[in-house]
Every structure is written in structure tokens, then in C-alpha cells.
């Protein structure tokens, strides 16, 4: 028995956590120690089952949704039901799924369900001061009830589980992914845990990965582009009032809101967004990221690991090399690919291509961050010098850039690039926060101005595929009107209202395009790839390094 005195100030363990523990130790750790919780369909269906349980037809005394706790065991929970039958109390636990089958097909409880039912029985017994000799687990999918004896063996198993839970709570190491691959497809945390990616890293590539990571985006992004638009709240929906009228948008259909310029968002709407996990980002008219909210809690363990890792110079250098490698390689590959069929174009950019290739070959040996920065700069200069050559000779000359100008953009082409990078920045920012990382601590960029370094770091690997390529493509398809899509203010060039809407559509459509991630060989939208890479980055310092920034262009 664990005595109260041994527990000190340690918080009690929830019975549900013991259920997770017996399912998969990593699941227990992610939920209980790192406090990462993701509700999936099964979780909600299970909760509803507890609310809607079939009513009882007899007069037996019973208690439902009964809170139990024990200082002696250091455990708390809520038991589904306790009923008195033939003078003795029995604890009931309801499960949505099917039972386990023994060798001769006899119904059995799954180990995780069993420990849960045993824990409830033991806690009820202590609380009522009357013996509880049996627990019953009811499986609704196959209508089977499994009976469990609450004997010494059961109490011992409970004791062992509690001890194990306490050991894991003390540990700072995230346990490895489970060996039983069949558990993962049903696990609500698979999207965070990424078991198949880790197994790939462990060179189990021969086993076909079960592809758990969701492949497309389920909800929509709302862009507010005019200052006259006001987003308020009406119950569980957003009430958008603009010059063209009012519309209600169900909050469940939205994943983020971007306010471009000075559109209004009420505090009531912001509360709804925070409550429902919808990120809100504010950008300037020119597309520069100003601020963002995200309702994700700061995760202590994850951040401690991030701080520890990113104060390690060798690791920072390694991550920086891989980032610069990924970025420069995609610049090179894009120039090569886009000029493949046109000998004259290729010839005109052969010199920059050669210099970029030479820079790329030095990246992996770069001795420090400064020399990496030098190589990145050389490549960028040649890349932006070559980029205009990819533009068709049939386009309006006003759309041809004159080098790269950033703050402010000085031609139309650069205005498009800057606006795209701003939206990319906002996307990466809210994704990193959602994944639980601290944007302020990066590995390559230095903290300066308002731009969080980790966001700048991650943005690098997506500039070419998510902004440069769609911008060049759209210019070549003559999608821009040099007069009505832009506004010129002295030397500065901005997008007009029309132009901004087109640029948003261009970026958003790119995010829905499917791409086969070359490392996991799973097809998914670019929006998901950004999230996947962010999660793989977090794994660089959480026991599964080497997976980040392996995305490559074909």
C-alpha cells in the first residue's frame, strides 16, 4: 500500500490515466505529464455513452457518475455506476467498443479497461466501507459484459500500475512508441505522437506505415480584408458584417482568422475563438505579421526540452545546416526544373545555378552559423537574380522585378513576394504555437525586432514551394493586372484591395494542393506538411532526431 505520507504534495493519479498507462506508456506520458490532449471521434462517442446509458429496469439501489478518491491509494476518478446486487456492491464500467477474446473465444476485458474497473471497485469499497467483490465491464459494440473478481491479484496489479505511473511522472524522458502497432490507429494522440514517422526513423521502413497523419485540412480560414468589416459573435457562430451584408459562419467550420489591415473583431468573438481553439492573426495591409493569438497552453516539458536543446550550439548548427540545405536546394531545384525545357533560359541562368550549386556543396561542412549565413546570402543573391528569367516574355514588363526589395517592396513582383511571405509567416507562427513550441527561441536566426526567430527558421524551408513557385506561376499565367491589382505610393508598391484578394486565394489554394512528402511518402496538403514539419522539429529534441527538414522538391 502506498501511504499518504509517501505521496507528499504529489497530485493524485486519475483512474483514466491508469487506463492510458496500460494502453500505451507513451500515451500516458503525453497526456499526464506533457498535458497534450486531443479529443477524437471516439473520445466524444465514449463521453456521450456515459451520458446516455440505458436506464435500469429494476429497483436495485445504485449510484451513477459517482466521484471517488482515496488518499491511501493516491487515486481519483468518477465511476460510471455502482449497484447493489444480492446485498453486495458491484462497480460498472461502460465501453463503446468490443471486448477482447480469449483462446476459446471467451470474452475478456482489455488490460486497460480491467485496471480501470479494478481501480473503481477498490475506491468504491474504501469510500463506502463495504466490500466490493466484483467489477463489470460492459462492451456495447458486441453487447458483452465481462465480470472481474476484485481479489488480491487484482489489487496487486493496481498497485503495480500506480507505482509505474508515479515513476513515469517523475521522468523527463518521453517513452518510446509502442511496439504494438495496432494500438496507434485507434489512439487519439496519433497526430501528435506521429508513431509511423518515428518508426521510419528507427529504420522499420519495411513495415508499411499505417498513415495516421490526417492528409487534408478540415476547416476553413477566414480572411478579413476590409476595414469596414466587423466580426462579432452570435452564440456559437461568427457574425460577419460587411458592406455586402451580414452572414453567420459556424465556428466549427473555421480554423483561423486573418485580419489584414484594420478590420474589426469584437472581444466576444475573440473569446469564442479562444474557447474553440481558433487562432487569430493580425497583419498589416502590406502583409506583414503583427500579432497572433493561439489558445494552446504553454507546455512545460516540451519547452524545457526546447530550451535545453536550443542552447546547445552543436545542435543549433546541425539544424541550421539542414535548414539552409533544404532552402538552397529547393532554390536550385526550382531554377533547374523551371528552365528544363528552354535552352536559352537555362543558358542565361547557368552562372547563378553554378554558384548556387557550389554554395550548396559547402553547406554541410560549414563551420559555424556565420559561414552558413554567408552561403545562404550568396545563394539568395543568385537565386533572386535568376528568378526574373523564369518569367515569360509575354507578360507585362511592369511585372518584371528589379532585384529583391523587401521593406518596402519597390516593384509589383516584390509586393507579391512580400505579401506571400507575410502569410507564410503567420501560418508558421500559429502552427508552432499550436504544436506547443516557443517561437522566441530559434536555432539559426537571432532574436531581433519583433520577429520570433523560430518562426523565421521554419519559414525558410517553405519559401520556395509555398510562395515563390505560385507567384511566378501566376505571373506567367497573366493573372495580375498591373494597374488595378496594385497601388503605387512613391517608390513603394502595395497590393490593392482586388490584388490582395487574389494573392490570398493564390496562397490558400497552394495550401490545399497535395504533395507527396518524400520522407514519409504520404500524400498530404501543403497545409498539413507545415504542421508535420513543425511536429518533426519538436522531435529533434524529444528522442527522435533527424526527421526535420527532409522535405525536398522533386
Amino acid at each position: 500500500m502506498i501511504r499518504a505520507a509517501d505521496l507528499g504534495d504529489e497530485p493524485p493519479i486519475r483512474v483514466m490515466a491508469l487506463h492510458a498507462l496500460l494502453y500505451c506508456e507513451r500515451l500516458f506520458y503525453l497526456e499526464e505529464v506533457e498535458e497534450i490532449r486531443v479529443a477524437d471521434g471516439n473520445v466524444y462517442a465514449g463521453r456521450r455513452l456515459h451520458l446516455e446509458r440505458v436506464s435500469l429496469d429494476d429497483e436495485t439501489p445504485e449510484m451513477r457518475s459517482y466521484d471517488v478518491s482515496s488518499e491511501a491509494w493516491g487515486v481519483v476518478g468518477k465511476v460510471d455506476a455502482v449497484r447493489k446486487r444480492d446485498g453486495v456492491w458491484i462497480a460498472y464500467e461502460h465501453k463503446k467498443g468490443r471486448c477482447r477474446r480469449g483462446e476459446s473465444n471467451e470474452p475478456l476485458a482489455w488490460p486497460s479497461d480491467r485496471i480501470q474497473a479494478v481501480a473503481y471497485a477498490v475506491l468504491v469499497e474504501e469510500q463506502l466501507g463495504e466490500p466490493v467483490k466484483q467489477a463489470r465491464v460492459r462492451y456495447h459494440a458486441d453487447n458483452v459484459t465481462v465480470l472481474l473478481d476484485i481479489d488480491d491479484a487484482a489489487r496487486n496489479d493496481l498497485r503495480t500500475a500506480i507505482r509505474r505511473a508515479r515513476v513515469l511522472r517523475e521522468s523527463t524522458e518521453r517513452p518510446p512508441v509502442t511496439e504494438n502497432t495496432r494500438l496507434c490507429p485507434k489512439c487519439s494522440l496519433a497526430v501528435v505522437c506521429l508513431p509511423e514517422e518515428e518508426r521510419l526513423a528507427l529504420d522499420h521502413a519495411d513495415e508499411l506505415p499505417p498513415r495516421l497523419f490526417p492528409s487534408s485540412r478540415e476547416r476553413h480560414t477566414l480572411h478579413v480584408t476590409t476595414a469596414k468589416t466587423r466580426v462579432g459573435r452570435s452564440g456559437e457562430s461568427l457574425l460577419v458584417e460587411s458592406e455586402t451584408g451580414k452572414q453567420k459562419i459556424p465556428i466549427e467550420q473555421i480554423d483561423s482568422i486573418l485580419i489584414h489591415g484594420y478590420g474589426q473583431l469584437t472581444t466576444q468573438a475573440l473569446h469564442l475563438c479562444a474557447y474553440r481553439g481558433v487562432a487569430v492573426d493580425w497583419l498589416t495591409f502590406g502583409g506583414r505579421f503583427m500579432a497572433g493569438t493561439s489558445a494552446s497552453p504553454g507546455r512545460v516539458q516540451q519547452r524545457i526540452r526546447q530550451y535545453r536543446a536550443l542552447t546547445n550550439e552543436a545542435l543549433c548548427l546541425d539544424l541550421s545546416r539542414r535548414t539552409v540545405h533544404a532552402k538552397v536546394e529547393s532554390q536550385l531545384k526550382y531554377l533547374l526544373r523551371a528552365s528544363r525545357t528552354d535552352g536559352a533560359v537555362r543558358q542565361s541562368i547557368q552562372e547563378p545555378i553554378d554558384r548556387i550549386r557550389a554554395a550548396l556543396s559547402k553547406v554541410d561542412q560549414a563551420a559555424g552559423i556565420d559561414s552558413l549565413r554567408g552561403l545562404e546570402g550568396i545563394a539568395a543573391k543568385d537565386y533572386f537574380a535568376a528568378l526574373p528569367r523564369l518569367l515569360s516574355s509575354r507578360i507585362d514588363p511592369q511585372l518584371i522585378p528589379n532585384g529583391r526589395s523587401k521593406h518596402p517592396p519597390e516593384d509589383r513582383f516584390n509586393a507579391l513576394l512580400s505579401f506571400g511571405y507575410g502569410m507564410l509567416f503567420a501560418l508558421v507562427h500559429r502552427t508552432l504555437l499550436g504544436v506547443g513550441l516557443e517561437p522566441a527561441l530559434g536555432f539559426f536566426h537571432q532574436p531581433r525586432s519583433a520577429a520570433p526567430p523560430l518562426v523565421m527558421d521554419v519559414v525558410e524551408i517553405f519559401r520556395v514551394p509555398l510562395v515563390d513557385m505560385p507567384v511566378v506561376g501566376s505571373v506567367n499565367r497573366n493573372q495580375w493586372n498591373p494597374d488595378s491589382d496594385f497601388t503605387i505610393a512613391g517608390r513603394q508598391v502595395w497590393l490593392s484591395d482586388d490584388g490582395r484578394k487574389k494573392a490570398i486565394a493564390l496562397f490558400e489554394e497552394r495550401l490545399t494542393e497535395m504533395y507527396r512528402h518524400p520522407f514519409t511518402s504520404q500524400s498530404m496538403s501543403y497545409a498539413r506538411i507545415v504542421e508535420l514539419e513543425s511536429r518533426l522539429l519538436e522531435k529533434e529534441w524529444s528522442n527522435a532526431p533527424g526527421l526535420y527538414a527532409r522535405m525536398r522538391m522533386r
Partner: protein, 98 residues
């Protein structure tokens, strides 16, 4: 992740206060078509979440009817209906600009 599909949802709630809560909840998920008829485009996660949230509001003598519709059924709704029944078929774009 499961595909999204249309669901037609109707309800019969015995108490005005609960009725209002149920309607507000459904507005968070889809559009109201008629007085107590909604349509929601959802995947399984959203459906389970909605049903759980409604179960928390509704009482035992209230009724909820959820009719999942395949895409072919949904496309045929406008053929036999009056009023504006547009946009039953297509998945809306993943973004909106206002």
C-alpha cells in the same frame, strides 16, 4: 481522417430554454434550413463532438434525428425542394475572404 459529408439534423425539444441552447449549438456547426432543421457538413469527429455536446443539453424526453446523406442524395435535394437550396453538392473552398 474521415471524409466530410452532409447531415440533415432535426430536433424536438420540450422546453424553450433548452430549445434555444440546442439551436445556438447547431448554429456553431451548420446552417439553419427551416425552423428546427439544420444541415451540417461534418466529418466523424465533428459529428461525434456535436452529438456529445447536444446530449449534454438535451433531456431524456427530447428527440434528435441525424440523417447522414451521401453526396448523390445531397445533390438531388435541390431538384425536389423549394426555396434556395443551392450549394448542397460542392465542398466550399477552404478559405473565405470578406
Amino acid at each position: 481522417m474521415a471524409e466530410k459529408s452532409w447531415h440533415l439534423i432535426t430536433y424536438d425539444v420540450r422546453d424553450p430554454k433548452r430549445l434555444r441552447k440546442v439551436a445556438k449549438k447547431l448554429e456553431g456547426y451548420g446552417e439553419r434550413l427551416q425552423y428546427s432543421v439544420f444541415r451540417c457538413r461534418m466529418d466523424r469527429l465533428a459529428l461525434e463532438k456535436l452529438c456529445w455536446e447536444l446530449a449534454e443539453i438535451m433531456a431524456a424526453n427530447d428527440d434528435l434525428l441525424v440523417m447522414p446523406m451521401c453526396s448523390r442524395c445531397a445533390e438531388r435535394v435541390p431538384l425536389h425542394s423549394t426555396g434556395d437550396q443551392s450549394a448542397w453538392a460542392a465542398d466550399p473552398p477552404t478559405f473565405r475572404i470578406v
